[in-house]
């Protein structure tokens, strides 16, 4: 009997998700033992046309990481949706937009200008990317960049969500184990639409630091202080996204004295991670005079980037006014 087929693809992402999968160490051998890896551009050579030639639904499991930034991303998302039985939005970019979605705060023109027309770029003729260009050999094309970055779910239906930037390797290993057990008839799949490989509550739940009543009169950056290794970072004035971020990572960052950046996204039942974070952070400010509050708030230079570092595409407002205008 032939083995079930496995695929993994990256779109707009950094490649960290792929590394996290390889970081499962010998568990990766289980993938090879139980699956036939048919498409995984980072790890092996394969062509899009090979995938196109496959029968619909012939791939059992596809881990799709990265946000939808251009029409190539969307094309492959649609293609893999058609060919896969289980499509998993893998990692923060695919589930919530991730770091690439911070570009939604700008419009396409200013992104191009920053990338191609600033003083650090040698581009005397101010040439910007063209989607089509005629060469002596024929016309060449590059993907068209979309005005906004979208999540995978905003383009195709998704079966499961696996958050994290990247998902923790032990969580990936657990998910691989589960799928293998399902194949052997020893376990059942979670209901469609479930978040897998993560907890249901917050990072604070898993954090071992001591928590008292939080009262903050100044926000500080982690590099400017020597943090107390046993006390809650937020209590020390460091902006930590733990209170409104889904757990499952084992509070890896706060344990290493780095504030949680919020990569596991919103918790169960929360509609907008950024709004919940904002609520939690503002509530610990120990000031009653609006002027004093404003002064303390000056310690948060970029609230949008802070509270929506990984969730801009999936958030309620999704993007800035300018980005939506195209």
């Amino acid at each position: 009997m032939s083995k079930p087929k496995f695929a993994m693809y990256w779109s707009a992402s950094c490649g960290g998700c792929e590394i996290a999968v390889l970081n499962t160490h010998e568990k990766i051998l289980d993938v090879d033992a139980n699956f036939d890896v048919v498409f995984w551009p980072v790890a092996m050579d394969a062509k899009y046309k090979d995938v196109q030639a496959m029968e619909d639904k012939s791939i059992l499991l596809t881990l799709f990481n990265g946000a939808i930034r251009n029409d190539e991303n969307e094309h492959i998302a649609r293609l893999l949706r058609r060919k896969s039985q289980l499509l998993v939005a893998f990692g923060a970019c695919a589930t919530e937009g991730g770091i690439p979605a911070l570009a939604n705060l700008s419009d396409k023109q200013s992104i191009f200008d920053t990338a191609f027309n600033t003083i650090s770029t040698e581009n005397p003729n101010h040439i910007l990317p063209q989607t089509r260009w005629t060469m002596p050999e024929g016309e060449i094309t590059i993907p068209e960049m979309y005005p906004v970055v979208k999540t995978l779910e905003q383009v195709v239906p998704v079966d499961y969500y696996m958050p994290g930037c990247p998902p923790e390797s032990h969580q990936i290993a657990a998910v691989i184990d589960l799928v293998i057990q399902v194949l052997q008839g020893k376990a059942e799949l979670p209901p469609k639409g479930a978040v897998i490989g993560a907890g249901a509550s917050t990072v604070c739940e898993e954090c071992q630091r001591a928590r008292n009543e939080k009262k903050i009169t100044q926000f500080v950056r982690i590099q400017d202080i020597k943090p107390d290794p046993t006390l809650c970072l937020l209590e020390q004035g460091v902006l930590c996204n733990g209170p409104a971020t889904r757990g499952g990572c084992g509070a890896a960052c706060p344990t290493a004295s780095m504030p949680c950046v919020g990569c596991y996204g919103a918790t169960d039942g929360a509609m907008d991670q950024g709004a919940r974070l904002l609520s939690a952070v503002a509530s610990v400010i120990d000031a009653r005079d609006p002027k004093q509050v404003e002064q303390i708030l000056d310690g948060i230079p970029d609230p949008a980037g802070m509270f929506y570092r990984f969730g801009m595409s999936g958030s309620l407002l999704r993007a800035s006014k300018d980005a939506w205008k195209g």
């Binding site: 029409d71 068209e144 503002a282 509050v293 980037g305 309620l316 006014k321």
Partner: protein, 158 residues
């Protein structure tokens, strides 16, 4: 199309002071524009910033938040938390491109019906001057644009 833009303002009032202020404005037949839709919360501290974002995402042009005067909160000091959240929220909305004038926080006691009516009039006029926020239209527009783009999708050469 109406000649004059009629803004939609969602108002969040607390049960103890500002909702009663609005009530008093009504009882006293004080006039203020009908653009304000009130939602009563037990306390202004109950106002999750999500409510405000959802209001904007679903078509509101402005949001009015009102609570008891500082020191008068029925739940001791929740309105101070509302104040901090409001100040941070306006900063966040500004970086999203939503003008701070579209959101307003006022303190109104149960006796301040006239003040409530005056503030309601003020935010309606303020938002009217800014024009529609049209977030939902923008979202539909962006969706239509990207659908148009995806219809033009071609097979990507391998």
């Amino acid at each position: 199309m109406p000649d004059k833009f009629e803004p939609l303002i969602i108002g969040f009032t607390c049960n103890w002071c500002s909702y009663r202020a609005a009530d008093m404005a009504g009882l006293g037949r004080m006039k203020y524009p009908p653009n304000l839709r009130l939602i009563r919360l037990m306390c202004s501290g109950r106002l999750d910033p999500t409510f405000v974002l959802k209001a904007f995402a679903d078509g509101a042009d402005g949001v009015l938040i009102s609570g008891c005067h500082p020191g008068d909160c029925h739940y001791l000091e929740q309105n101070y938390k509302t104040q901090s959240r409001y100040l941070l929220l306006t900063r966040l909305l500004a970086s999203f491109g939503i003008e701070p004038q579209r959101i307003k926080l006022i303190w109104a006691s149960a006796a301040e019906g006239a003040y409530f009516a005056e503030q309601a009039t003020q935010i309606v006029e303020q938002v009217r001057a800014l024009g529609p926020l049209n977030w939902h239209t923008r979202r539909t527009l962006a969706k239509a644009q990207s659908e148009q783009l995806s219809q033009g999708l071609e097979e990507v050469p391998a």
